[in-house]
Symmetry: C2
Subunit: 141 residues, 2 copies
Amino acid sequence: INNKDFLTAPIIDQIISSEKVAHVQIGNNAEHALLVLTKTGYSAIPVLDNQYHLKGLLGIGMITDSILGMERIEYERLEDIKVDEIMDTNLPTIRVKDRFQRAVDLLINHPFLCVTEEDGTFAGIITRRVIMKEFKKYIYN
Amino acid sequence: INNKDFLTAPIIDQIISSEKVAHVQIGNNAEHALLVLTKTGYSAIPVLDNQYHLKGLLGIGMITDSILGMERIEYERLEDIKVDEIMDTNLPTIRVKDRFQRAVDLLINHPFLCVTEEDGTFAGIITRRVIMKEFKKYIYN
Ligand SMILES: Nc1ncnc2c1ncn2[C@@H]1O[C@@H]2COP(=O)(O)O[C@H]3[C@@H](O)[C@H](n4cnc5c(N)ncnc54)O[C@@H]3COP(=O)(O)O[C@H]2[C@H]1O
Ligand SMILES: Nc1ncnc2c1ncn2[C@@H]1O[C@@H]2COP(=O)(O)O[C@H]3[C@@H](O)[C@H](n4cnc5c(N)ncnc54)O[C@@H]3COP(=O)(O)O[C@H]2[C@H]1O
């Protein structure tokens, strides 16, 4: 395949589907989110609502940053902070029927992208690792 | 350039040099490390000794995981835990004079690689972002 074939390939086979993606829900508190992130071992995960719509991105750094006080890290405040208040709502997304080109462009600055259906339903994620594997196969030919 | 040129290119121009790399030192405690990670915004950084030799990798997840007690997250223990006890010492490394091929192979499973001189001195890091930018230039031709 040539460069153009690589860029125009659909992303659909590379999507990690939603049931395999760790996430937290709107309304969860930051302490719960910290437990989920620590136990799954991921540094950032999607935030969904109860309709499985994508609402934002929550990273461990956002949690610790929210309790960095003047004198100490204020751990006791974690149970009073909702993920809604600290998540990143400015996250780039990609559609299920988009092509590698859009994934390549966005994954330069983002470790993973949330994939959504036309109606905003969360469909899964596409990660740098998956694109790099495809790129490696491509470049080794 | 062709595939072979891409893979045999030296990594040297893509290294983020050591003075630009946030790190912690052997002997630092986990609370200090958590502050460095939170303030720099990175999820994992190298651990060096006072001779600027690479000793390991420390991620935020390793810190929170170390204080996950049976009943609660035991934040008070952070100042008593040394980074030496919780860091990852199994990290892959790459030499200053290595080629893109080795970087591509290893960055599939690691967000960044520590670059060392022959004598183990820390020279900098090479990141997925940098390799993906080179790959994008390559594939857009
Ligand atoms: N349990 C595990 N098993 C094997 N390797 C692991 C792993 N956890 C992390 N890694 C490796 O570390 C990289 C960075 O993970 P991080 O959690 O910072 O960053 C992750 C995380 O924020 C998110 N992510 C990946 N898979 C996820 C999942 N199943 N659920 C939720 N978020 C996920 O996408 C980012 C990029 O993932 P990517 O695979 O490119 O890159 C991953 C992968 O190469
Ligand atoms: N201050 C910032 N400005 C702009 N973009 C930012 C940023 N902090 C993070 N990012 C973006 O988020 C990605 C993941 O960052 P993370 O800290 O999890 O994972 C980072 C971090 O663990 C480490 N890293 C990168 N630059 C570093 C530095 N100057 N010092 C120490 N560690 C660094 O290498 C990993 C992969 O970095 P990469 O650049 O491929 O990928 C970065 C970059 O695309």
